[in-house]
């Protein structure tokens, strides 16, 4: 078959993509846990992050600036979406909230096409992260390791905030029982807006760091949407550890899928999701059925 380093490289590719996927799906799963809404527009926020990175790099030449700007802008957009749109549809029931985010996804994608055009846009890898390092006798691109590092760092920061701070306690309580938390005198609507905004910002951040790796493309939203769905279904709706494990699983599945059965990697992903939904609808780590 293949020599060992090929497997190791492929496994590392899988971890890199898996961690990127985790950045996207963590925001998605937090929002779902709190509000019961699967925010389909989340994937559009991710795409928007990549396009904003392109524009920032074009305008200022600084990739690092886009790392701050894009999440801020998209986070603000997320807050507006939650406040002005989602809250209005709440009374119609979950299905309409789902439909609304579905429409927003479509709208943002088309707005992006309008503004930036249909072509793939190249975002150059920043100067400091070019080149590669030796890895098990071959070379591994530094930028991919950067993706891995940033994602892991943010994952750790998120865990620290959620587990070690007061804000984290409020969020985790709101995930398990929003009504009770609000009865305790906490302004849950504001917490929800904040979580929604942070989740959107995380999606944009993932988009920014993905941009030099996959390039800004109109199809990137739909691609990540499907993967992120699969991740939160497998990991369990609302569960962060589940999202982490499932992200890594999907990352590896895709990575080795390309190596062994490139034709049917997508098929296996959906089969895995279907099996989990049928056998354990609440996902690996989910509690609610």
């Amino acid at each position: 078959m293949f020599p060992l380093p090929v497997y190791a490289t492929q496994a590392l590719h899988g971890v890199v993509y898996g961690m990127l996927l985790f950045l996207v799906s963590s925001g998605l799963t937090l929002v779902f846990g709190m509000m019961g809404i699967l925010n389909i527009a989340h994937a559009a926020f991710y795409m928007l992050g990549a396009y904003l990175a392109y524009t920032t790099v074009q305008a200022t030449g600084s990739f690092w600036l886009s790392l701050a700007l894009a999440p801020l802008a998209v986070g603000a957009l997320g807050a507006v979406v939650e406040r002005a749109l989602l809250r209005r549809t709440h009374a119609f029931g979950h299905v309409y909230e789902l439909l609304l985010t579905f429409g927003l996804f479509f709208m943002i994608q088309e707005a992006t096409r309008w503004i930036w055009g249909s072509y793939t846009l190249q975002v150059p890898v920043p100067e400091a992260l070019r080149g590669s390092v030796p890895f098990l006798g071959s070379q591994y691109p530094v930028y991919r390791l950067f993706i891995l590092g940033v994602s892991a760092l943010i994952g750790l920061a998120m865990a620290a905030v959620l587990l070690r701070t007061r804000v984290g306690i409020v969020i985790r309580s709101a995930v398990s029982d929003a009504e009770m938390v609000s009865a305790l005198g906490i302004d849950t609507p504001r917490v929800m807006t904040a979580v929604f905004a942070v989740g959107s910002a995380l999606a944009a951040l993932a988009g920014v760091i993905a941009a030099p790796f996959v390039q800004a493309d109109l199809s990137m939203g739909a691609t990540v949407l499907i993967d992120a769905f699969v991740v939160i279904v497998i990991g369990g709706f609302g569960s962060l550890p589940g999202a982490l494990l499932a992200s890594l699983m999907i990352g590896e599945l895709q990575s080795f899928g390309i190596l062994w059965f490139s034709e049917f990697a997508l098929v296996f992903e959906f089969l895995l999701m279907a099996v989990v939904l049928i056998a354990r609808p609440q996902g690996l780590f989910g509690e609610k059925g």
Partner: protein, 331 residues
Amino acid sequence: MRRRALLLAAVAALYALPAVLDTVRLRMAIEILYFGLFAVSFNLLFGYAGLLSFGHAATFGVGGYTVGLVLKHVPGAPLLAALVAGAAAGALVGLVIGAFCVRLRGTYFALLTLAFSQFLYAVALKWRAVTRGDDGLSVAVPDVALPGLGVLRMADSGGFYLVELTIVLACLAVAWRFTRTPLGHAVVLMRENDERAAFLGYNVFATKLIVFTVAATLAAVAGGLFASFQRLVSPAALDLTTGTVVVFMAVLGGTGAFLGPFLGAAVYMLFQDWLSKTTENWQFFIGLLFVAMILYAHHGLIGLVGRGWGLWRRLARRPAGVEEPAAPGKL
């Protein structure tokens, strides 16, 4: 009686359309008919059973491919036989997918239907030997012979329209009749509260599965008509966009009435046609319209008409009677 007369007049008018419309408009009418049937079948699930499917394009595509394959591999097969085969394939696929999906509700149901449709999309894309992958399968449609009356040429829009109209009306009649059966009523009960339905002795799983299968069958017929008209069926027939468009159509028209989605399909197609001539970025405005409908008129155009009608009746000082909510059951 008056309603029946109106209905007959409407049907007669539909049959007279080829005499009035030019080819371009007639082709539009043809597209509206199969998308209308597709949207109505979607709404059997969404409006009646409360099951939002993001993967309804799956059986639309299965119907299209089956019709294409039958016409290609069975020499001399008439169009009607191919469509029946397409419907049967749709029913079979619907039964299998439905058996897995209908136990779930809400978001979970939406996602699992999406997963199955993406799975079928991947199969259509990759199984090149049968589906010809990205290139698509070209569909050769035989003319339809009417015994004693001559032959309807399918290359001719007028001929195709008449055949299609007959099939679509028959399917709509079946779907309408279906919603009036005890089973059709039971499924509305399950939409409102399926636990209660189960306690009342209904078999929730079997009932939903039957509805899912019927919806899949009708979608397959619509897909078969689509493939016959386009003379081509490609993986795009069952991709996410097709699954999205049918949701847009149904919500636009109104999911609370039987023909709401049909109206939605018609308005969608005409609006899209006009918009795409007006602006390059028409898809953005379609999305904007959809979001605006959800925010301000989630009962759809039918709901708006109903509201206007209620207002008119109140202004006309008729006895108000019971306010009828926009719920399925009205034609």
